[in-house]
Amino acid sequence: MATTVLPRPKAYDDTFFKPISIWLTTTDHKLIGIMYMVTAMISFVIGGIFALIIRLQLSQPNLRLVDDSTYNQLISAHGVTMIFFFVTIFVTGIANYMVPIMVGARDMAFPRVNLLGFWLIPVSIILYYCGFFTGHALDAGWTGYAPLTEKAYQSHSLGVDFWAMSIIVWAISGIMASTNFLTTIVALRAPGMRFSRLPLFVWAQISTSILLLVVGAPLAAAMILLEFDRQLGTQFFTTSGRPVLYQHLFWFFGHPEVYVMILPAFGMISEIVPVFARKPIFGYMSMVAALFGIVFLSMTVWAHHMFTVGMNTYVEGFFMLMTMLIAVPTGIKFFNWIATAWWGSIDFTVPIKFVFGFLATFLIGGITGIYLASVPVDTQLHQSYFVVAHLHYVLFGGSVFAIFAGIYYWFPKITGRLLNRTLGEWHFWTTFIGFNGTFLIMHTLGLEGMPRRIWTYSNEAWAATNIIITISSFLIAFSVLLFLINIVHSWNQGEIAGNDPWQGNTLEWATTSPPPPYNFERVPPVRSFMPVRDLRESGELIEEPPVVPALV
């Protein structure tokens, strides 16, 4: 019998500088994932530049660096960019890359839906920024409360219309991605990959997708009704209508969106801690249960953003209770992470440093969340700098620290090369110090009465705090610069990683770095939720000599 040697399929190695059309038309979940992540990183830099201008303007009382209208456009663009175009997009990208590999699939269930879903994101981003090029972007904050966004108060600008269109497109893309993730995870799991053996990052993606499926449509509905008001003269949210209805619709999306951004982060932490502590995750089942507890609770808390609009006190009491109850499943996850690391043998490389940075700062965001959930205290803290500090502790200290941990963890798999460790250490410490320097003392500004979203202030008592915050924010900018240098440098000439640089637990570490287009030549057997560790211990893991990866 003659043996036929099949040619090895073309890897990505030789595709980057070759036809651009491969990037434009690919349905490969890994290339789409990379495009999601690169898009998100560009947004991160743009949103960060907005933040620096905002911080310069606020660094001293009575500054006139930008005018009031520009300032309002900047804060709106900062919020929209970071929430819609950076964090959500980045976690979608990393899941798009990792989820099919982690469940042992060759691609997403609907590759062409995946393609369309991704390309709607640049459309959404460009639509939003069109506002700047038509003279006036959205200037009512990322929440865009009606009636300030109504025709009567924004007749001069197309910015609100571009924002509404952009968010509608974004919501459609999110619904597509969610459907795709759920189908992939349900239908394309490898033999042996039971639900009880899914990696926790995949469970996190299931919960995130369910959440986005439920709340994406109300967001689009709010934007469509707002556009009806503006373009067709209806009165849904106008001064003669019901402005508070807009807030209900927006926050029914808006609060779960926080969990859309943090649940994948939880998933990444749950993957990284066991690998670096050399211990299995503590309480796998309670981790999964906690995810769904959060999904359920997060849809019953939206009106805690509206404690000052004058609701019945019993209604407020209900939303307060449900909000505080989220501390229970979050607490379970938190203590399980600590218990996983307890007695461990922790190798303090850069990913695990970011994990502990996440734990140390996210805790503060969680605790300040309890203050904000308490209705009486919230009436003081609401719409003040305390809230700004809180949300950055949750979004930056939470999601973004986890994203950095995930990047340092998975970059070797995606590119075949390790990120430079020295630069990584510098990146971590500058981020950690800069972040806490910026946002820890920001709480006190809110307690002393500085409202958010004011473009300038005359109160001299706030000056010292504000200048410290501004200086620290530039330290964050410096850390991002280090990070970008590291990415570019290591992508080209980083140390060769090999298939499994961290001795990982999940299936992505069983394939090459970067993985071939079809992910696995042969899907490894799955016998627990740590399949690759099982193979390593039973000696079945085939260690191929690391190849030198070309670009991507």
Partner: protein
């Protein structure tokens, strides 16, 4: 050394190593906690706008919020210090670099008792905080019917109008530079505030008095104040309402009853009239 020598050299070494690790970790832990305590002590002096609590409240509802804040803080600080200490312990104690080569940690998959414990502990804590907060909510945030004075506060782009029962109106037009006219109330008088928005949503906030109340077009919101001493307190609009948002300064001034009457008489003389700005048709 003699007694230690009785044990095998290997276990002596690891025992010493363990002792060394524990003392080093503990020292680092206490140093960090010491710095944290110092930081809290420094910041509680309120130097340079770094106060960790609200300004001294001058109205009972503000005092209620202040007390709730302190109550939550006691629990929050305990949880914060406890959990951060646990994290610090893990970081200092379980480093691979300080462990013997080839050390394999115990492969624990979970512990039902512990998991139930750290489900129930946060549950009890948040139920207590929620109950405590709800009691305060019922005490100070219910609509009141027995006020001694009613003032209608209406927010517009960009300023506040305060209409007293006798028709006198204080116009607090927004300004970034100049001092805005004060909204004057008598001391020790329960003043009911009725809020309305005439264009977009605004939010009336004077931190020393109480929390925020939104001025929403279409319906009226209510709050109250009862200031116990004469003085002036500042606030700002807290809901982004357009380009002039930052200019919507608020000044509340409390005067003794006699001073207030004199002030009111002067206002009547100078012919302060109801605001010319359109107000919405009453919804109730």
């Amino acid at each position: 050394m003699g007694r230690l020598g009785a044990a095998s050299p290997g276990s002596t070494g690891s025992a010493l190593l363990y002792f060394h690790l524990v003392t080093r970790s503990a020292r680092a832990l206490f140093t960090t906690l010491g710095f944290a305590a110092l930081a809290i002590a420094l910041s509680s002096c309120g130097v340079g706008g770094l106060s960790p609590i609200f300004p001294e409240p001058v109205s009972p509802n503000g005092q209620g919020i202040y007390n709730t804040y302190i109550g939550i803080s006691i629990v929050a600080i305990i949880v914060f210090v406890g959990v951060e200490a646990a994290l610090l312990w893990v970081v200092l104690r379980y480093r691979r670099s300080t462990q013997p080569a080839g050390y394999v940690p115990p492969q624990v998959h979970g512990h039902t008792g512990l998991e139930i414990a750290w489900t129930l502990a946060p549950l009890v804590i948040v139920l207590a905080i929620a109950g405590y907060s709800f009691a305060e909510l019922q005490k100070d945030f219910q609509p009141i019917s027995h006020s001694q004075m009613l003032v209608v506060v209406s927010g517009h782009q960009f300023g506040w109008d305060y209409e007293y029962e006798n028709g006198v109106v204080v116009h607090q037009e927004g300004s970034l530079t100049a001092e805005v006219p004060a909204f004057v109330v008598p001391t020790n008088t329960l003043v009911k505030l009725q809020f309305r928005g005439t264009d977009v949503i605004h939010s009336w906030w004077v931190p020393a008095i109480s929390g925020k109340t939104d001025a929403v077009p279409g319906y009226d919101n209510f709050s109250w104040l009862k200031i116990d001493k004469p003085g002036k307190w500042r606030g700002e609009c807290a809901e982004l309402c357009g380009t002039g948002h930052a200019s919507m300064q608020i000044i509340v001034q409390a005067m003794d009853k006699s001073d207030f009457d004199a002030w009111m008489a002067k206002q009547k003389e100078s012919g302060a009239t109801p605001s010319g700005s359109p107000s919405p048709s009453p919804s109730k």
